[in-house]
């Protein structure tokens, strides 16, 4: 009986083993494909860094990095009255920072205020309506903010300050502030909600009032998360493009005067792109040199920001 059984089992076992071998191949192929998908993101980063570096080499072979980083005059496309072009990037950096600082000056108090209100004061029903309403601001495309700055905020500002130039850093900065408010408010709120309830209860038990609990207990305990939200929001403001292209002007200028027309790094990239600079020309390479600087500025800020967030998460 035994042998016949074996003979009957034979082909079935064979088939099963065959299926298993086929299954193993499927497994390996699937594993490989999923890994490849994950590596696309690494390739993207490598691509960005390589692209920016390689193309910048062409630029820096003609312009010294020192002149680029410390020069205070930027006129890579138009020649000045002496027929010279200047490649000092500082005016673009100054313009970028000016807009970012104005944005932060509006967005930091507003965003933190909203976060404290939502996390410490608002009853659940109010919070459920207000939180998504504020977050809608984050979903609005930046061209729309540009339109808003140019057609609504600038005319109002000009009726208050008649000397204000039509394209100016102030209007772009204020609208940019509105744009980054939800970033600060939701990240800060997350940080405050994560503060243990026991800290609040202890403070209340000692007789603290509500605002004392919010400002003297919860706010300091969540401070690193809140600061991280500032850094990430400012990094976002530095990389923002369309809003400043539309509303802040195209005049690279070393100035801290918000009433003036300026140009940011991103707006410069757009200006050259719209002109379709011939590949390999110095103008074309300028794009990548400015892009490289922009990439590093935002990278450094993002890394600092995410390290700060992680620190604060570990402490509870």
């Amino acid at each position: 009986m035994e042998p016949t059984n074996n003979m009957e089992r034979g082909p079935a076992l064979q088939a099963s083993l065959g299926r298993r071998r086929k299954g193993e191949i499927t497994e390996r192929v699937a594993h490989g494909l999923f890994l490849a998908a994950a590596l696309v993101s690494v390739a993207t980063t490598v691509g960005i860094v390589l692209t920016l570096f390689v193309q910048s080499v062409g630029f820096f072979s003609e312009v010294s990095p020192w002149e680029f980083l410390t020069g205070t005059e930027w006129s890579p496309i138009l020649k000045d009255e002496n027929g010279a072009r200047h490649y000092g990037v500082l005016p673009l950096v100054a313009g970028t920072m000016l807009v970012a600082v104005i944005a932060a000056a509006l967005a930091i108090p507003t965003g933190v205020g909203i976060a404290i209100f939502l996390s410490e004061y608002a009853p659940d029903r109010v919070r459920k309506v207000l939180k998504p309403a504020i977050e809608v601001l984050a979903g609005i495309p930046t061209v729309v903010y540009g339109y808003f700055a140019l057609t609504f905020v600038t005319p109002i500002l000009r009726s208050i300050f008649p000397e204000l130039i039509f394209f100016n850093a102030l209007s772009a900065g204020l609208v940019m502030g509105l744009m980054i408010v939800p970033m600060i408010s939701s990240l800060s709120e997350d940080a405050m909600v994560a503060v243990p309830r026991s800290l609040r209860q202890a403070a209340y038990a000692l007789g603290a009032t509500r605002f004392e609990v919010a400002l003297r207990v919860v706010f300091p305990a969540a401070l690193s998360g809140i600061v991280a939200s500032f850094i990430l929001a400012i990094s976002r403001a530095i990389g923002e493009t369309m809003l400043v292209t539309i509303a802040a002007g195209a005049t690279p200028r070393m100035t801290l005067n918000p009433f003036e027309s300026i140009q940011t790094m991103t707006a410069f990239i757009v200006q050259v792109s719209l002109g379709e600079a011939p590949r390999g020309s110095l103008e074309y390479n300028t794009l990548f040199a400015v892009g490289l600087l922009l990439f590093f500025m935002t990278l450094v800020m993002n890394v600092i920001g995410s390290i700060t967030v992680r620190r604060f998460r570990e402490s509870y």
Partner: protein, 295 residues
Amino acid sequence: MAFADRDRRFRPKLPRRKRWGTAVYAMLVLSILVGIVGLVTLIAQVVVEGAGWLSFGFITNFPSRFPERAGVWAALWGTVWIMGITFLFAVPVGVGAAVYLEEYAPKNRLTRLIELNIANLAGVPSIVYGLLGLAVFISLLGLGRTLLTGGMTMGLLVMPIVIISSREAIRAVPSTYREAAYGLGATRFQVVIGVVLPQAVPGIMTGTILAMSRAIGEAAPMIAIAALTFVTFAPTGPMDRFTVLPIQIYSWVQDPREGFSGLAAAGIIVLLVVLLSMNAIAILIRNKTQTRSEE
């Protein structure tokens, strides 16, 4: 001594502290108002300026020198094409990466590198992706300033969003489901395809819609790869040149001639309506799946 002790005694000063509390509360309400008033004014401005320009012809016309004959047809089709290519590129790769990180990845340096890398990519300015597309897809691969280039550039841009939200959706699948499937003898791939992904689909769809609504409003990277600003044809294939809605809006905003600012506002209304309906779908999906899991 006794006198000094009494001096140091705790004095509640409650009325003063209550006044401070009221002042702080007023400041907080003010900050909420800044946000809400900003949002409402923005939308009101767009609707007031743009509503008069909206018409059937505005949707079906090509751009024109005459504002009353101009429309968004070319931009609308460009956007549809870009969305399609972005979706086909970003979703399979992004979900694949999420599956790898959640279900396959060992805890080693490569995995940490990939995770760190995705977090950083999410913060790279969108214009930098445009430069990447310009150098890699156009100069290196010679794909031209086409829809394909635009869609792939946009795909890379939104991929971190797809990966991060898909990972969350996959992580939310209870591990008991996986264990049950493994217990029945399923292989890892069978568990992923048969158990984990079907459970994670609603979450992945929500994340995908978020990613798409980010892509739909992006103009900067498309300008960097030199999408056109004045297009009088609807694209018919992935190798056509194109414009998209935000770029069309940008070119109208820039146009100082009479009427074009209104056209820009009307274009914004179209863009916001598309965006809102996408987000509404995402919320619907979320609500539907939430009630189901409570049953």
